[in-house]
Symmetry: D2
Subunit: 335 residues, 4 copies
């Protein structure tokens, strides 16, 4: 029985706890949370789980094997480091850390201590993303030409990160999971309508050597919730609408290819417009698979699907976007 | 009776002809078109209209009062200049010209000759855009924070202009019509999947001194047709979905405003989420109103809704986007 | 060159004329219409077609080979009879006639005179219905269990027929085209909110010996336009949404079958829920294919897709629905 | 503190338990359930609630004030009677009983014992239905002309009741809640594709003296889930789409009224098509309000919103539909 401690029972913590509780081979023995209203809620639902207000009481607990850190991003590095140094497995909420060097440092520490380090990029565990990855790996889509995402809603304005770290992080994790290429450059634009200067509307454009262009349009200020990703391949295209309750993925038998011609005036495009297929997608929560993956990575000493390296890549691209925003919204090179 | 000549009966020409024919106070007397298949189609539908293959035969026709130019953009300046020099009123298809100086030159010529110069930015004449303008002018939306447009479809790859000149031109014309401010900077990113290097996917971001950010995501390579504009005001927000057959505009009683506070850590946002109103929108073609506007601008010597100055502003911003694309996708300043 | 005369240029007439004009091997030589505003419209669009105000001038014209009758249903029999007796081919708007005996009489007359008699059930000519028929004929759907249609809108209240004759007639024609079985019984319910007692909301239920149940919910009084047919087979199900611009047909890999068991308490249902397929549907107007079918039926002396026998079946079922409405909404037997 | 016992922890029981547990002034002290898998699930979630396998252990428990019966309908009367005879308040799952006489007997018993008897018609407690009732009571919709409901999905085939008792019961409860009139007649049609002869597809038509017509199309055999009610008033119309996540109710400023005229040939309809309003609807579970209503009915001795009389009316109309199905699908009179 793997014993789990949790640090942070705010917005996402309750979902993590609920999902880990449904796994037979683990138990949650202690949860640290500061806010009294969250603690009250926690005790009402789970009267048998021990609660504390200090994270160290979880980290230093000898009986705990693994710790879930679901706190604001600025605390990820400090808490994560302590957890690994206490020889415990670590599950970090996404994004992994606020800087590349912190992420690197945690990866090295996890390697040295031979501990599992999983970053909770939940989307990778959804059946929708799994199906899209299969379509790409099997070459069914052909060469990938673009990835175009829109993530808007009237959202919580976060206090420590901008909208790209909050929302584009999902797209970047998916991109890293389904595309093997590394980017060429990252450009970001945005605007903050708040005093704290954190962008509440922002766009990121990532270019790749192959000609792939990825774009993510993120907003906390839209009256409508949109979660729409278009992926264009040379053979087929995918529309992934996460707001749609059952028909999340549509695969269009319509790609475009260009017939080679030496004369640049002659563009000849070959469209193939055919049927649309809506594959059956398992609607199970991604979080549930993530929880199982963490536990079996611990039990069987295997690499989790959403491993630390992917988490680091996400931080790297978000940091480049941040740099672009600071440098007058110019593109910055990936390496 | 105003006598009209038309140059170009290709993609858009037939729509222009059909709409002008339904106006009692004008008649179309001559149409110039090169392609024989288009001429054949034209003669079948309108056996009584005279056809020629040379534009000059229209321009030099003494009996013609006004000329409609619906040819590729590269020919707009040359043809437009001749039309005005022949002392005829001029209707140019959008975008007005390929460069700012050409646009300026035509405006001056039109002024000197006292001729109407209308650029066919059809969207301005739709009831949807008219209603949005009213909502903004009446301050019902409050301060405008963002304008976010998506225009994607599996489109015709144009041979002489990229996707921004084709599609973002609509957004820029609407922006210029509904917003009085001038931009601060323009940034564009894009990719061409064709030999001729014209971007088939591109994004433009326009920033304004007030903090307004405008973004347009344009693609000829999407399996789904999207025509969606979100406009966020401090009091209300508008969703304009042009693909929706009847409920094109939704007005959300949900804006966001920020309560002033000196401490940047304290963001306090005040959301007001209320009813949604779907105003009745007249579904009449914008083109029909544009045609009427051109004729009455000629008859009553008045400024048309989509006047040359607006057409020039669109060319200016598209040229800046072009410059941004050439300069490594950096933002360029408006003046 | 087949010469065609048209009687009636009101609501549907212009669509018929436009489509027949695009067929090279026929020409429209004369159109009869009473209302002056319709005649004015007609002359504006087609200045070269001769117009008359008396139907007989079309019927008695020796140079005319075929006559299209697009007048109110009450005149169909009288006009149709005259046309056939004048040895001309006949295209009747749907529904064919107001009574079964009239329909029968026209069929016999057409046979005697060896003339084509086509009833314009346009839906049969759409690619959507053609694809559904193929799915049924090829047994891909399995045994058909139900046909469930909803046709509502804020419609024109017709003056001579109720909403079933107007809207359910489409469903009955489709049913007759895709199902080979004859009904067992017909039941109708409805209500009239008008002085003339014609139902503006009505429902028809048709039962078949195999257990197939067909239902059509028709309304001229709905604020939303719905055109939705669900067809349930034992293997697959079809959703045909005619309001959807491009994805009109969805084929669900989910049927239900019942595992036989002698104990009635034990129902064991086997659902198979799988992918959804959206076949590419040609969006060409059905009317265009219908026009071609009429011309080639004349030229090659062959049976049209929407032949008179199908038109008669539709009248028969509508008459039974009428009888049910009169007899206190009781079901009436088909024969 | 009101002490509650629950009989039945199958499909709906867990939802009832969860909602009652969130009310501070009551507690659930005992739950009776037969199936061991359900008991296991129950104990995992609520380790502190006592479980039994015999309903009588709940009913005879002296410390229990009120009992929730969430068992198959055939057991409602027997269990309900025992609960009331044990001087406890009673909450019955819908439909109330399988027959009118049983419902009547329970009502009389509750009156005699002065106990609350609530039938859980949850929809009445949703904000959507509350808003619709207000629109009708305030005369904003005008005279109600029709109520048209579609409830289809690929559902659980119930073993003891047909699809009308399962799904149309929702519509009938809503109708009874928003309309004060009593019906004139009830007609039902349907088909059973199962051995047990319970209809899995059925339609019910209810006519009212005022001319109001109500129709409900119910199916357990549809590949798509539809929950759509159209309500047509003489001034405005309401579309209530319960599948829509946020925009559940749309109010159309388009009614139809008929201008009086003695000549039945002259129908003159006056449509007013205007804006659409989407009122903000509180998305809170109806069940939560129902639970609170039951508790406060007990505490303050007041009539609950979904009282026994309404539950009885639903049973009465469902029984008439049953009678219609048996009598060859003829309409049967309400009294």
């Amino acid at each position: 029985m793997i014993k789990i401690g949790v640090i942070g029972y705010g917005y996402w913590g309750p979902n993590l706890v609920r999902n880990f509780l449904s796994i037979p081979s683990c138990e949650i023995t202690k949860i640290a949370e500061i806010k009294s209203e969250n603690l009250k809620e926690l005790r009402k639902h789970y009267p048998t789980i021990k609660t504390v207000t200090n994270a160290d009481e979880v980290i230093e607990d000898k009986k705990i094997d693994a710790v879930i850190v679901a706190t604001p991003i600025s605390t990820h590095f400090k808490l994560g480091k302590k957890v690994l140094e206490a020889n415990k497995h670590l599950l970090l909420e996404k994004p992994m850390t606020s800087s590349l060097s912190e992420a690197l440092s945690l990866i090295n520490l996890a390697k040295k201590r031979k501990k599992v380090l999983l970053v909770d990029h939940t989307f990778l565990y959804t059946d929708a993303v799994q199906k899209i990855k299969k379509l790409i790996v099997s070459k069914e889509l052909g060469r990938i030409n673009y990835f175009d995402s829109t993530r808007t809603n009237l959202g919580l304005f976060q206090k420590d990160i901008n909208v790209l770290w909050d929302l584009a992080s999902h797209d970047i994790s998916i991109l890293n999971y389904i595309i093997s290429e590394k980017p060429l450059s990252v450009q970001a634009s945005g605007v903050s309508h708040t005093k704290n200067k954190l962008e509440n509307i922002a766009f990121i454009t990532i270019k790749y050597p192959s000609g792939l262009i990825a774009h993510s349009n993120c907003s906390w200020s839209s009256p409508v919730k949109i979660r729409l990703i278009l992926i264009g391949g040379s053979k087929k295209m995918v529309v992934y609408n996460d707001v749609e309750p059952t028909e999340k993925i549509k695969v269009y038998e319509s790609g475009y290819k260009f017939i080679n011609s030496k004369d640049p005036d002659k563009i000849r495009i070959d469209y193939r417009i055919g049927d649309i297929n809506i594959p059956k997608v398992d609607l199970k929560e991604g979080l549930s698979s993530m929880a199982k993956d963490f536990i079996s990575a611990i039990k069987y000493n295997k690499k989790p699907v959403s491993d630390a390296q992917l988490g680091l890549e996400v931080v790297k691209i978000l940091s480049l976007a941040q740099e672009s925003l600071k440098k007058g919204e110019k593109p910055v090179f990936y390496k």
